[in-house]
Subunit: 325 residues, 2 copies
């Protein structure tokens, strides 16, 4: 995917202006630092791809691509405070490197700057772009709150878990493509279909993330294996296992996920992995991810878009689902 | 000012829909709670007044008025976390009543909802409204960071202090009137003049606030007298006194503001008040506030607006400056 690297370079070049800090330094340096520690830039690439389906000059959508990336980074900075996370992308999180007030405020500014870039568009396309963005942004907040609420609940129905990751993760993927398309003047129906493609791909993407967290290779993912297990995150692996394990296995799983039980992290991870495999939860999660991936691909293939139009999105989707990082 | 009560009622009625909490409750209940504990609603009233200068049907600007009020409340919820404040308007702050993650997230949602309401306008006026809002929002964040930075600095130049309160407080007052005017289709020059009026009024307003914090009657302000002294806030009272006191008085003032010195809150307040009076800092602060008030009034009076157009704004400004609460 030659395009992908071209798109990424465009995005990184545009983000460059955030990498020289302005005054007050304690507000702008954390933003510069955080944008600089990387990330795959998948979401802004999707904005450009959504635009590219209708028009060639992707430079016109670069502000909206940056908006989506800034929004994504806003959620990460604030989520890291809420989750008391100390490391992100292998680097110290903003609230640990500086402090919580600074992390709250620089996150706020990232959100404001996201809107600022988003609105850098002709007034003829501004309204649908803003509608899409605001609906997405509200849902992302709701998803984050659901995620935090679930921590204090013994068990959640699978549907509720999927609804949570839909809001917390998938709608941003959907809105990214949709906003790119709307920036190019796409009709609301076309843009909605692309949104649905993105949401389903986003669900598959998050489920694969959950899978790789437990079964991926740390040298490829850059994350400690089993981080979700240690953090007690009730992903689909946990929920499926809980419903399909024997009474005794169920109790063992609860014990593993109980932060008060005396158990080493490595034991927690090893035991949970074995339990998941014994109930086929690993296979179930992968098949669920593939289901959503297939739905997303079929949405595009059965649409009225031409083969040329949808090819880059299909290639990116395939790449994302084939990854082991 | 009959209008004022009518405007306030319109605003409170519109805010009413935020007072029934949606799901997830832990996200929407704090918002509903916080919007319900009151506030003078001066900023949204100013939006309607800005609109009313050009058009009668103020209902058309109600979304923008709500946007400004939601933005204001977003800053309060997040500032309370950053300042570790436990009480706001006589009630428990959100992060104390719930917790920090919930306060961060509900503040985020208030900001998103602010943009959502702001954009509820014809596309012909959307761009200038968004420009004004984003510029203001960035400056408010910068002002809050400056305020936090100043806590760790021994002394600040008066100009820097004024620049801080301009960004943290005054530009929101200015943008409120400006956005109301822009919503009504006012030209950029007219709207800018109203912005300048608001900024200067906002500076006067904040200085009066600083004065009332130390010399106001608690039963009227609803705040403990001398809260800024106990919190070590370096307002103009402190800065002026520090520059005009004798060497020994200066050292005493520094001791009063040093959180490590062993001194009761009531002693700190009593001693600081006496010091301020001895250097005429109380009179200086009041005269500074009056200077900015006069600038704001003169801007309106020397403009091309008619007497009828500017009357409500002048009345509100007079009321705000005559208050003892």
């Amino acid at each position: 995917m030659q395009e992908l690297y071209h798109y990424r370079k465009l995005i990184d070049d545009s983000l460059g202006k955030y990498l020289t800090a302005k005054e007050p330094k304690n507000l702008y340096e954390p933003i510069s630092y955080f944008l600089n520690i990387g990330g795959k830039r998948i979401r802004p690439v999707l904005v450009l791809m959504g635009y590219r389906m209708f028009h060639q000059q992707i430079e016109h959508a670069i502000s909206q691509a940056i908006a989506i990336e800034l929004f994504h980074n806003f959620t990460l900075v604030h989520d890291d405070i809420m989750d008391s996370a100390e490391v992100r992308r292998g680097q110290t999180t903003v609230h640990k490197k500086w402090n919580e007030p600074i992390a709250i405020l620089s996150g706020d500014l990232l959100l404001i700057k996201a809107y600022d870039h988003l609105c850098d568009a002709p007034s003829s396309v501004l309204s649908p772009i803003l509608d899409s963005f605001s609906k997405m942004a509200v849902e992302v907040c709701e998803g984050q709150q659901m995620d935090m609420d679930f921590e204090n609940v013994a068990s959640i129905h699978e549907d509720n878990y999927i609804e949570m990751i839909r809001k917390k993760t998938a709608v941003l993927i959907g809105a990214a493509i949709q906003i790119g398309a709307l920036r190019a003047g796409a009709g609301l129906t076309e843009a909605s279909l692309l949104y649905e493609f993105g949401v389903n791909l986003g669900l598959a993407f998050q489920m694969l993330d959950d899978y790789l967290d437990v079964y991926g290779q740390p040298e490829k993912t850059g994350k400690m294996q089993g981080g979700d297990i240690v953090a007690g995150k009730k992903t689909l692996l946990y929920l499926h296992c809980l419903h399909h394990a024997s009474e005794s296995a169920r109790n063992e799983l609860r014990k593993i996920y109980d932060k008060n039980s005396i158990m080493s992290d490595s034991d927690r991870i090893r035991l949970a992995k074995d339990l998941f495999i014994s109930t086929g939860s690993d296979i179930y999660l992968k098949s669920k991810a593939e289901d959503f991936y297939r739905i997303s691909v079929n949405l595009l293939k059965s649409s009225e878009f031409s083969g040329t139009q949808i090819k880059p999105l299909l290639e990116l989707a395939e790449m994302l689902m084939g990854r082991d990082f």
